[in-house]
Amino acid sequence: MEIQWPLVFFTLLTGLGAGAFAFVALTEWLGKAERTRLPGASTALVAMAAGGVASVFHLGHLERIFNVLNNLRSGIAQEMILIGLTGLAIVVYIIVVRLGYSAQVRKIVALVGLVLATLLAIAIGKSYVLAARPAWNTWLLPLLYFVSAAVLGLFTIYIWAALRKEEEATVLAVNRATLITLAVQAVVVVAYVVYLAVAPFPNPLRSASRLLAGDLAPVFWGGLVVVGLLIPLGLTAWFFVAKKKVLPSLVVAVVGLVCVLVGGGAFRALMYILGSSIEKFS
C-alpha cells in the first residue's frame, strides 16, 4: 500500500516521546541523571504532541475525532487513550518535580508513566498486526516498534545527559544501554526479514528478496541497515571501547538520534510498501 507519511511521523514522534519518558522514569527510580529528567520529560511531551498533530493529517474528518471512543477494542481507540494518559502522566511528573515533591511521590508518578509509555510504544505497532496483510501479521511488528521507541528515547536522553553535563559514569551508562538496545533492534530486524521469507500467502510484492535485493534494497540497506543501525551502533560501540574520547558525547548522541530517526522512517516506509493485502485485486 501507499506510504502513509502522517502515520510514519506519528509513530516516530510518539515512539520517541514514549521511549524518552520511559527512560526518564527509570532514571528517577535509579536515582541517576537528575539534571536530565525535567528536560527529558518535556521533550517527551513535545514529541508526543507533535506526533498527535502529525496523525490528524491522516484523517478525513478531524472534527469527529472523539468518535474513535465508540469502539474501545479498536487499535486506534487504544492508541488515543494511551497517548492521553501517558501525556497526562508526563505533565503530572513535570509538575511534581517542579514543585519539589518527595522522591517517593516522583517515583510513583514515574512508575505509572513508565507502564503507560511502555504500553503505548507496543500499541502503536500492535495496531498494524492485521490478518489482511501478511507482511504485518506478526508479533515482531509491535516488538520492532517497541525497540524503535526505546532507541529513539535513549538517544534523546543521551543528548540531554550530554547537554546537562551529567557525570561521565552516567553518560557512559546511557551509551551502554543505547548500544545494547541497538543490538537488540538489529536482531529483531533480522528476525522480521526471516519472517517475511516464510510468511503465509507468499507474493513477490512482499517478499524478503524484494527487500534484500529488489527495488527496496537501497532503502533497506542504505536507510535502515547502514544509517539506522550500523552508524549508531558503530558510534556507541566506539564511544564504549575507546579509552580516549575523540568525539564528544553530544556529537555521538545527536548524530545517533538523527540516524535512528532516518532508520525508523525507512523501516516504516518499507512496512507500508510491503503491506499489500492477501488478495490484490487490481
Binding site: L59, G60, H61, N67, I76, A77, A131, A132, F281
Partner: protein, 189 residues
C-alpha cells in the same frame, strides 16, 4: 439468521463490464474507484489446454468482517441482514478499515473525507429490489438472496453447483460472496 449475499456463476460471465458501469451510475462512485470491478484471470496453461475466466470483485460482506472490528468509530457495521455498511456521518476517514480488508475493496473518497465501498445497493434492497449489478448483468451470472434461506435462489444455485463453489482467501473473516466455477482451476484463496 440472515446473510444477504451475491453468488456469481463465472462460467456465465462474459466480462462485458455492464455491472461495473451500472454500479458506478447507481452509486455515483468517484472516478478511480470501483466498488465493483471485473478482472480477467488468465489465460493460464499451454495451448491447446488454456483456460481463462472473469472475476467480478466487490466487498465480500464477510460473516465476520475485519473492517467492523477495527473501525474505531463504529461507522463500519454489519446490519442484521448481513450487509456490511459504512455510516458516513460517523466515519473519520482514518482508513484503518481499508488496511484491515484482505481484498482492497474499500476506497477513500478524498472529497468527502470518508471511506466508501459496495453497499450491495442496500437502498434498493430495502425497497425490495435487487442490487443494480444483479439487475443489469447481461449474462445472468449473478444470483442474489439469503444464504441462510435454503429455498432462496442463491441457496438453490449454490447447492446445484456443489463442489464448484469457491470463495476468495479467507483469514477468519468468512467472505459471503460465492463464486461458481466449473471446468477451470480456481486461482484465488
Amino acid at each position: 439468521m440472515t446473510q444477504i449475499a451475491i453468488a456469481l456463476d463465472l462460467n456465465r460471465c462474459v466480462g462485458c463490464l455492464a455491472c461495473v458501469v451500472a454500479c458506478k451510475m447507481e452509486n455515483n462512485v468517484q472516478i478511480g474507484s470501483y466498488w465493483n470491478k471485473v478482472l480477467r484471470v488468465g489465460p493460464n496453461g499451454k495451448f491447446p489446454d488454456v483456460e481463462m475466466y472473469f472475476l467480478p470483485v466487490l466487498c465480500q460482506h464477510c460473516d465476520s468482517p475485519e473492517c467492523t472490528k477495527v473501525c474505531p468509530t463504529g461507522a463500519s457495521h454489519k446490519r442484521a441482514d448481513g450487509i456490511v455498511l459504512i455510516d458516513k456521518d460517523k466515519c473519520i476517514g482514518c482508513r484503518y478499515c481499508a488496511m484491515a480488508c484482505p481484498y482492497g475493496v474499500r476506497y477513500f473518497n478524498e472529497e468527502a473525507g470518508v471511506v466508501e465501498k459496495c453497499t450491495l445497493c442496500a437502498h434498493l434492497v430495502d425497497k425490495g429490489q435487487r442490487p443494480t449489478c444483479v439487475e443489469e448483468c447481461t449474462g445472468n451470472c449473478r444470483y442474489f438472496g439469503d444464504l441462510d434461506d435454503p429455498t432462496s435462489e442463491i441457496s438453490r444455485k449454490l447447492n446445484e453447483a456443489g463442489k464448484n463453489v469457491h470463495t476468495v482467501a479467507d483469514v477468519g473473516n468468512h467472505p459471503s460472496v460465492k463464486y461458481i466455477l466449473r471446468k477451470a482451476t480456481w486461482r484465488s484463496g
